[in-house]
């Protein structure tokens, strides 16, 4: 791994006594794709804002490309591309000018921005909408324009806060493809997402954050190995009967989880355990053996209760 481009040490952010970020330490190498996972309110967006040089930390140290973003905001942000969680497009300007004007904020020349804007419009499939006003765009189009805008300066680090929320599957896959190519060119990606498949697809390494702290860190495969079993057996005995059935599943799998609608058996061999279950005379209404996913890890680490 090459020299880290982001180095966070004991990063803290408090808002009026509440610690939204409570001592995060991590490093991201050049060309790496790094994910921040966590439930709502875990401190992901706050962390992203500090990385983006738009939020001053309350404690700890932070270096982006060797600079302190609190002291050298403009110089740090010059190398960043930011996709915020909520689109903040310029509603007073047409679509194409949104790209050109944004590029001007970086001091880029018009001679570069004219062809670049056309290229990005094509990427975002908005060429036909070039002279439309932003307010005429659908939610998905706005999202694509925001993403295209973040690329106008060919950033070295791309910060994506839930980039594909509101996109249809086609646009999501097109974006994943684009991000993968950027990564191949050496662009560092930092992203937050609620989609575990997206994290598995895109992230070389990720951290699961909850209550402003890192709960686990590793590659998607490592996290699954460490925090879940190879397979998960999902059994439905009918509502109201799951808990009673679960009492007779002792010794099967390495861990059981009883939910209102189903019982999850974490297992290294789901088919074998399913046979054992039927040997015990249990007849689930439906049963399903599937591979363990990052979602299982996420729910294990951050709990199933709803936040917000």
């Amino acid at each position: 791994m090459s020299e880290p481009v982001i180095r966070a040490t004991d990063l803290v952010k408090s808002y009026g006594g509440v610690r939204a970020v409570d001592g995060l330490s991590f490093e991201v190498s050049r060309g790496e794709s790094f994910g921040l996972l966590g439930p709502n309110g875990a401190g992901k967006s706050t962390t992203m804002r500090m990385l983006g040089g738009v939020s001053r930390r309350s404690g700890g140290r932070l270096e982006i490309l060797g600079l302190d973003p609190d002291e050298q905001g403009p110089r740090v942000r010059a190398h960043l591309g930011v996709v915020p969680q909520q689109d903040n497009l310029d509603e007073e300007l047409p679509v194409r000018e949104n790209l050109v004007v944004y590029g001007r904020y970086f001091g880029l020349p018009h001679s570069y921005l004219r062809p670049k804007a056309d290229q990005l419009l094509e990427f975002a499939q908005l060429t036909e909408k070039a002279s439309a006003l932003v307010s005429e765009l659908s939610g998905g189009m706005k999202r694509r324009l925001t993403i295209a805008r973040s690329l106008v300066s060919d950033p070295r680090i791309l910060l994506l806060d839930e980039p594909t929320t509101g996109l249809d599957p086609q646009a999501r896959h097109a974006l994943w493809d684009r991000l993968f190519r950027l990564k191949e060119q050496g662009v560092t990606l930092v992203l937050t997402t609620h989609y575990m498949d997206e994290a598995e697809q895109l992230c070389d390494r990720l951290v699961v954050v909850d209550h402003g702290r890192i709960m686990a860190e590793g590659s998607p495969a490592e996290l699954i190995r460490r925090w879940s079993t190879r397979e998960v057996l999902e059994l439905r005995f009918g509502s109201g009967r799951n808990a009673a059935a679960a009492e007779r599943l002792g010794g099967i799998g390495s861990r059981l989880e009883v939910l209102p609608d189903r019982v999850l058996v974490y297992s290294d061999d789901g088919e074998r355990d399913l046979e054992e279950i039927s040997r015990r005379g249990l007849r689930p209404v439906t049963s399903l053996v599937r591979r363990s996913s990052l979602e299982d890890v996420f729910l294990r680490l951050t709990g199933r209760s709803l936040v917000d």
Binding site: A78, N88, E91, V101, F106, L108
Partner: protein
């Protein structure tokens, strides 16, 4: 999704920002953006702002002036009432344009459009945003002042070449109000609070020595008016229109220089507090 055409690396063409947290040295990008946004859609509204002081000049200066006759000018010599209130109306129009640009326009960008948030995700700093946005208000002030000075000349109300300095003078007045107005707006949270802007600028317009000299007031009231910004703008432009600038004129200009400095500094600090928390 077509393959990328070869374009130069954008990072290689970046303008290297100045060191520090507040200013990248690229306020003109913000200025250009807002000029584009404002004049693209609102040019008719923008030009209508110029009609207002001309209307006042005709109704009050020429119409009411025919009853009033002559009043004492800045140097004590009698002048036509129209010639006396014209520079005051110019100061008012510079104030109104700047206040509108720096309060209502800025308020919507601050609270609803999330525009500054987007700008501060780039290499821009809060001082770039403050200077760029205030700069737009100056253009309006400058356009109104040039047009109005032309109208004054055509009506024979200009008596000295000093009157040409009314244009930069009016821009300075606009600068002061824009810087101050943007700073105040940064604290506004609701549209109801914004109504205070209108509520406060109307008496400023009526009672700042615009239509009659301050000596009609009892002394404490006179002091109060003299502490407020519009009176200094009115006097500054009136001295220039009459061609009788003096130490007091320089004092009025200095008042605005301070207003500009304080306004820009406070606006920058507030943008930082709001968007770089």
């Amino acid at each position: 999704m077509s393959p990328d055409r070869p374009l130069p690396d954008g990072q290689g063409l970046l303008r290297v920002p100045r060191p520090g947290a507040l200013y990248s040295g690229n306020a003109r990008a913000v200025f250009a953006r807002s000029m584009r946004a404002q004049w693209r859609t609102n040019w008719a509204v923008m030009l209508s702002g110029f009609v207002e002081p001309v209307g006042y000049l005709l109704a009050l200066g020429v119409g009411l002036g025919s009853v009033v006759g002559e009043v004492a000018g800045p140097d004590g010599a009698p002048v036509a009432y129209a010639a006396w209130i014209a520079p005051a109306l110019l100061a008012v129009s510079a104030m109104n344009g700047a206040v509108y640009d720096s309060t209502w326009n800025v308020f919507f960008k601050l609270r609803y459009a999330r525009l500054y948030e987007g700008m501060l995700n780039t290499s821009l700093g809060p001082l770039d945003v403050a200077l760029g946005e205030i700069g737009v208000a100056l253009v309006r002030g400058g356009v109104y002042a040039t047009g109005f000075t032309g109208v004054m000349a055509a009506m024979g109300l200009v008596r000295s070449w000093w009157a040409l300095l009314m244009v930069p003078g009016a821009v300075l007045v606009a600068f002061g109000f824009a810087a101050f107005g943007m700073a105040v707006t940064s604290w506004m949270r609701t549209i109801q609070q914004m109504d205070w802007v209108t509520f406060l600028s109307l008496p400023l317009f009526l009672f700042s020595g615009t239509f009659y000299p301050l000596d009609v007031y009892p002394e404490p009231v006179r002091w109060a008016v003299q502490a407020l910004p519009l009176w200094h703008g009115v006097e500054l432009l009136r001295d220039l229109a009459a061609g009788t600038p003096g130490a007091a004129t320089a004092g009025h200009a200095a008042y605005y220089a301070v207003l500009v400095a304080v306004g820009v500094a406070v606006t920058t600090a507030r943008l930082r507090a709001l968007f770089l928390r």
